[in-house]
Symmetry: C2
Subunit: 137 residues, 2 copies
DNA sequence: GTAACTGCAAAATATTTGCATCCTT
DNA sequence: AAGGATGCAAATATTTTGCAGTTAC
């Protein structure tokens, strides 16, 4: 079965036009997407409200997740291996290029463990690295 | 000289009421502050616009910085040792407690280096750990 | 057929800008 | 006194909500 459909089915979501198109956009994007990127995904425009609701649904189901940024922008990313496995790990580093401003999931770079002070119980970590990416160097 | 004044002077900022109050708020807060926290800092309310402008000024001067979050909220933090040294390193981990929702600067926990794929040139890294903090455990 | 999803309109929030006035140096 | 900072008003932009019509199953 198509990967796209399989993701929706697995999460008990009905297969609708906007969900297919938005999810496809994520599947075809190596990095992260901002709300605006999705709204402007030229070919067919979605209603702004539908984009909000669809993203929220995907986040609720764990299909996509927010990724942290240092510049207050709001980015969403779907991470390939996690989705194929059916649940999220997101334990990889995100890289933000300061030249092209793209955000890239470095799926192969695992977030290292850190030793926290006494009493802190970590559950999840996010790491964002800024710099210049391979394309812009 | 008062630490507060020294920070403003060092950055060539005139010493005004709102700058003093907002900076003081940061100096007295162990973690991070959201825009709303500042606006609501009871005693005396600032004009919403002044808060925006003051925060922007502080960010421009490097007195405070955005910290990344995984939940799309916008947080600012001032980090003690950096400010005392006169410039920013911010190379420490931020911890977000999922019980009390506070964000804490773990000044003593340094962000580890990671090995990036060929061609990526890192300049700065941010790391956020979610979990349960010492107070809430 | 039913429950869920979408699009439109509008409300509620959040952020930015212009300008006259006030404060800091 | 001069330049910059503030507060108000208003313009923009962003996000949420209600509801009627449409679509998926």
């Amino acid at each position: 079965m198509d990967q796209l459909l399989s993701i929706l089915k697995r999460n008990e979501l009905s297969v609708t036009g906007s969900r297919k198109k938005i999810l496809e956009l994520f599947l075809n994007t190596p990095g992260a997407l901002a709300h605006a990127d999705i709204e402007q995904s030229t070919n067919e425009a979605f209603d702004r409200v539908t984009v909000y609701r669809t993203l929220q649904t995907f986040v609720d189901k764990g299909i996509i997740h927010h990724i942290p940024t240092t510049d207050n922008s709001i980015l969403y990313a779907l991470c390939r291996q996690d989705c194929e496995a059916g649940h999220h790990h997101d334990n990889h580093v995100h890289f933000v290029c300061e030249v092209c401003h793209k955000t890239i999931c470095l799926d192969d770079v695992t977030i290292p463990e850190v030793k926290l002070p006494q009493g802190f119980a970590p559950k999840h970590a996010e790491m964002v690295v800024n710099g210049v990416c391979d394309d812009c160097k």
